[in-house]
Subunit: 318 residues, 3 copies
């Protein structure tokens, strides 16, 4: 594997899952693989889980790790040609990225949607520039439109907890005070569509995800109907995708908050969320603290998904 | 040893000191003990000595280290249940802490007294939540009421420099422009009371420390009298502890500043301070630069105290 | 080698270059040399290339690395004696520096000219205090008057690309919106003067560098005349050095911007710059993207120059 930005990069998911469980049994089995190899993690946005889990995964593989925090806006890169750079942008992307590539073997990039231009966000401007100019394998630590390390960890978790071969998985929108990127729901949909699970998406009208991510999933606007018989409930808030209201919050209806009543219509479903989660907006205390909540093992699997991805990339550069 | 928050966690101090001197002779003797083990250092407050010395100690033991800086207030954790989290707190402590625990083997936490609520400070709210919810061994890198890694380093230093079996050690308050937590003097008193040294505390009226820390120490309000015949002078400023003026500065009297006149009544005492120190507030230039000042070797012993603690915890999780 | 602050510390440059090329062939040849040795990198100014390349070099040698960011002004150290420290300076340099030295084996320091006092800048106050008080080998990661790791990387790059034994190297000033330190041009001049290259400096009147750095170089105020027949063009902006306008920008004339017309009079010269570079101020897009631009391999050689320096220091402390 060279780059990792979406589900297709991983190839056969059954093979990838097998590898994940093998690593989970012995995290240090491949500690020699990353010897004298350096991971550079670049954060354009803040991070807790992704930072710690990816660094841990790299160290499990014996890698050296360097972390670069680029505060949003603090490091303004020029991307155009012909501009007289006498303003606040002190470096051109055509110099900055290859230089960073020259000091490491693998690059991880976190760069969220900015909600300034839907086109820029959905073209993955930043991530693609790293792929194009760094000369190194690049993987997404959550980009504008996808969060594949999270989705892979979600898949691992579902495989660990599922009780039937083809569980019913429901992705439900939930309210949040701030507009959040669609990266997590897009990506989750992409990964679920790549399995043979029964997959349903539910959200208020106006919150439709991009068609390329919805793909062959069933969309059900009636949340309770969607949740009926679910084996896994995956809650997440996201901002509007459509052109008219792109990046806006147009609904804070707490009737969508996942509570005991919602869970009661499921098949004693497990509750999942990528974290951090706003309690009593996304989900009630009772549900997230209850015996069916698997948000902590789900987060713990971030170390495993990152380790499979790094292992694959390392194997590709040996 | 599971957790390390106070002197009792270390058991027999003679054994711990023996271990400290063994490590000091060869810091890399146990470099295999921490192999494939990860320390997560979490700072709610800024740090120089603690950060560097603890990280160095962990690396001496062959550990991997991850550092997380949580600016005071920047990462607001909700601690109550039932709250609708639609404000500035983006995560609940019941999710945040176990997730951090899932990516490491040992957690170090720095969280100072905030002087907002005496009860919250003296109940060690933050530190105890990590112990309760992280699922990992936790050690204090200075908490609200104690700084045990500092006190252990102080003890090691006194043992190295003492010329009599039972030296006289005097903890003296000194003025400072800002209100400082009682963690260092509390903890120092706790450790000195656990030895058979002669231990005296001196401070202006109104600066009494909590009775559980003073314990069987002699309190002497006349500073010069307290210092008479001292073998070690340990200076430190702290804010008022009593309920009425908790967390306030009510005295900036520079007559308490340790100078040559104060040192003259001692038994040619060594001068100690945990650093950073405000010169000519806490102590004069002459005294801190003089031949009896041992503040630098005292700071250097922070690496040793941290290494004993990490070694003990590692042995407990093998 | 004990300290590294200028070209003389490296001794015979031919030997140093031989070592550089040996390391470049196998970066991990000396991975055992830094075992159980710790590098502390201290940044008073922000850094991208220096931070990553130096850390990478240290890891290539098997060292442990700790990074300390000291935001300019955030950590105010008292340097005078006798001052009553009741203001905003919380620590004296006489305590802070030896303590940092006690937790590591080698110290790297970045501390730029502040343009507040020419005397302070040119006396290298900060760097020299680390040398004097830390008790450890110290190397410059760009100080007030020199950037020797950059200049060494520049020399390595010229040796790799030169087609004649004694190439003509031209250092040309170029415009920039902000006043920049003279560290890079000073240092480059110092290193070029230590070779047997033909070395010419060109800049507008008023931008003369300090005589000790210019030394026996030829200064030519006519930029086009200076560039005639050049094998290497090294562009850099710097602020005025003379007493009257020290640290100021007195010229933004874009006639000095290196463009195709300038390059046309050279001997098909290679273009060099230390980066980050302001395009169309320092150099046009065409030139920096052209086949003769070697700015990326020049930056990549920062890892090699740092590794030679660290290797030499490590050998000195074995």
């Amino acid at each position: 594997m060279r780059h990792f930005t979406n589900v297709n990069d991983l190839g056969d998911l059954k093979v990838a899952l097998h590898e994940a469980f093998e690593i989970k049994k012995d995290r240090f089995k491949f500690v020699e693989l990353g010897r004298n190899k350096t991971l550079l993690m670049i954060f354009f946005n803040s991070s807790l889980r992704t930072r710690l889990s990816t660094q841990k995964a790299a160290m499990n593989l014996g890698m050296n790790v360097m972390v670069l925090d680029i505060n949003q806006g603090a490091w303004k890169l020029e991307t155009e040609r012909g501009v007289i750079m006498d303003g606040d942008k002190s470096e051109h992307i055509l110099e900055a990225i290859p230089v960073m590539g020259s000091y490491c073997d693998i690059i991880g990039v976190r760069s969220f949607a900015r909600f300034e231009s839907k086109q820029d966000d959905y073209n993955e401007l930043i991530l693609n520039q790293f792929i194009k100019y760094s000369g190194r394998p690049v993987f997404s630590m959550e980009a504008a439109t996808r969060h594949p390390l999270q989705s892979f960890a979600d898949l691992i978790t579902i495989e660990e907890y599922k009780k039937t071969e083809r569980p019913k998985v429901v992705l439900t929108w939930a309210p949040h005070p701030r507009p959040l990127p669609q990266a997590v729901p897009n990506s989750f949909a992409e990964w679920m569509n790549a399995t043979d699970y029964e997959f349903v998406i539910t959200h208020p009208k106006g919150y439709e995800l991009a068609p390329e991510f919805v793909s062959n999933a069933r969309v059900e606007y009636d949340q309770m109907k969607a949740l009926e018989g679910a084996d896994f409930v995956y809650a997440k808030s996201w901002a509007v995708y459509n052109d008219k209201n792109y990046g806006k919050v147009q609904n804070k209806d707490r009737a969508w908050t996942v509570d005991a009543e919602h869970m009661a219509v499921t098949n004693n479903a497990y509750f999942m969320h990528c974290l951090p989660v706003r309690r009593n907006m996304i989900v009630t205390d009772d549900v997230i603290e209850g015996p069916q909540s698997i948000v902590i093992p789900e987060a713990a699997n971030r170390e495993i998904s990152a380790q499979v991805v790094l292992k694959r990339i390392l194997e590709g550069i040996q």
